[in-house]
């Protein structure tokens, strides 16, 4: 440990039983000037109650417009170790499966070329390598690509597509999230590395409505697994739950948001026409209940955090799509959406804001989709979609 490192305020964050980033960074502070000055600058920020980072807008690697987030210290004389502190996003594997060797490979490269600090994984889904100098960017990139890794997205581009573990480990998966994430990442390499959109575009894929990637809240486009037919029920397993003392009436029946389950002794009856696929009953009784057999995904658009405008939740644009390789139907939809947004969106306007501005009706017409009742976000949220026939009646000409 570095002897001259005095960080009384940060030290508070090492107390208690929880993991501490301070502890982690300190473990590298003896070895890496960058880690040490990172702590010293942060301590000063805590004292002064302000940040000391400057944004660098031009750093990157040749040919790529994303993947590197430039940062410089505003106090380079005081903290020379973090004079440059650029971050690299590395495209994660589908569902975040790695071998120990793969992780060691990345760590070795990063200890050689950067701070050695990483964040696995960032909220973007990427492996995030924190802190390096401008002149190390190309060598780091070369070392990573030699081993088959690539940068992820940043800026006004397709962000690194991200998915839940899906069928890799989870019985609820209604489609193969891993293979769709892999497919989209490869299909849209240009869009990922060469920013050409009005603003960022995030695609997150969850295998079922539990939505482990939080696609509904955190992605411009959420692809969320769902089924169309009836929940599969194993009567013996239901009886077992009841016999074992699980309060099926209180915990399942009475918590169904649409009240569409009935319990009759040891038997459960579901009115599937009123089920909104919230997953609650399945989550409580996983051995007895499972998603139906006719599986696919619902596609949502528009979620975002507040940056230019306020936060938005995603809303349904495609209630059901079957998802099978080679996923041509998804490609077709994505490309129609991008083309219309590209043509009519304004600078830094996310897809959700765009739809709010031009109206859902205009957007649907622009991408060539029909209005459907599932697109209504909330009660009294009226899309006011006008059908062509109405215009014709007003005398706009024969159809």
């Amino acid at each position: 440990m570095a002897d001259d490192l005095k960080t009384p305020l940060l030290d508070e964050l090492e107390k208690g039983p929880w993991p501490s980033f301070v502890k982690d960074i300190k473990s590298l502070a003896g070895k890496k000037e960058m880690a040490k000055d990172l702590l010293r600058q942060l301590e000063k920020s805590y004292e002064d109650k302000r940040g000391y980072w400057k944004h660098g807008g031009l750093v990157g690697v040749m040919g790529y417009g994303g993947g590197v987030i430039g940062r410089y210290s505003a106090l380079p004389e005081e903290f020379p170790g973090v004079s440059h502190f650029h971050t690299l996003r590395i495209n994660q594997t589908s569902g975040w499966f790695y071998t120990a060797d793969a992780l060691r490979e990345i760590l070795n490269i990063w200890e050689e070329h950067g701070s050695g600090l990483l964040n696995v994984h960032g909220s973007t889904g990427d492996l995030v390598l924190l802190g390096t100098r401008t002149e190390e960017l190309e060598p780091t990139f070369r070392a990573l690509t030699e081993k088959g890794w690539d940068l992820g997205g940043s800026g006004s581009d397709l962000r690194t597509p991200s998915c839940c573990v899906g069928p890799g480990r989870c019985e609820y998966a209604c489609y193969d999230t891993l293979s769709l994430a892999y497919n989209l990442t490869h299909a849209y390499q240009d869009e990922l590395h060469r920013p050409m959109f009005n603003y960022k575009y995030k695609i997150k894929m969850s295998g079922c409505p539990n939505d482990c990637t939080a696609a509904i809240a955190r992605s411009d486009m959420g692809i969320i697994g769902i089924w169309k037919d009836d929940i599969q029920v194993k009567p013996d397993a239901v009886a077992e739950y009841v016999d074992s003392g699980l309060d099926v009436q209180g915990l399942v029946v009475e918590n169904c948001p649409t009240g569409c389950i009935e319990l009759d002794g040891n038997e459960i009856k579901i009115d599937n026409s009123n089920c909104v696929k919230c997953m609650h009953c399945i989550n409580v009784m996983p051995k007895a209940l499972s998603p139906g057999k006719e599986r696919g995904a619902a596609i949502t658009l528009g979620a975002k955090a507040p940056i230019v405008e306020g936060a938005l939740f995603g809303s349904v644009i495609i209630p059901f799509m079957k998802l099978e390789e080679p996923f041509e139907e998804v490609h077709d939809l994505i490309e129609r959406i991008w083309e219309f947004w590209d043509e009519h969106g304004t600078n830094r306007e996310r897809i959700g804001e765009f739809i709010e501005r031009v109206s859902l009706a205009t957007f649907l017409e622009g991408i060539g989709e029909k209005p459907l009742p599932q697109m209504i976000k909330a009660p009294r949220d009226n899309p006011y979609v006008f059908y062509e026939e109405y215009y014709a009646e007003e005398g706009e000409g024969e159809k």
Binding site: K54, H55, L58, G63, Y64, P76, T134
Partner: protein, 81 residues
């Protein structure tokens, strides 16, 4: 007649040079400028190829300030040497 990609790249480069320090241009702005000038003689794919040519040759670089832009290589104010 389709406009050659090299010509599009050169014309985009001129626009970027004129706007340097005045307005940050996105890929879409450059594409729209070419379409406005030449109409159907410019496809989106050709405009994309022209931008790729500018970037891969190092004549232009990607910049980021809020949104992404295409700029002439230069050193920026925030940079620490």
């Amino acid at each position: 007649m389709a406009i050659p990609v090299e010509q599009l790249a050169d014309e985009m480069y001129e626009i970027i040079k004129e706007s340097a320090g005045v307005k940050k241009l996105k890929g879409g702005d450059l594409t729209k400028a070419m379409v406005a000038k030449y109409g159907d003689e410019v496809s989106r794919a050709d405009a994309k190829a022209a931008i790729r040519m500018l970037i891969d040759s190092g004549r232009c670089v990607y910049g980021y300030f809020g949104g992404s832009s295409i700029e002439l290589p230069h050193s920026e104010a925030a940079e620490n040497k």
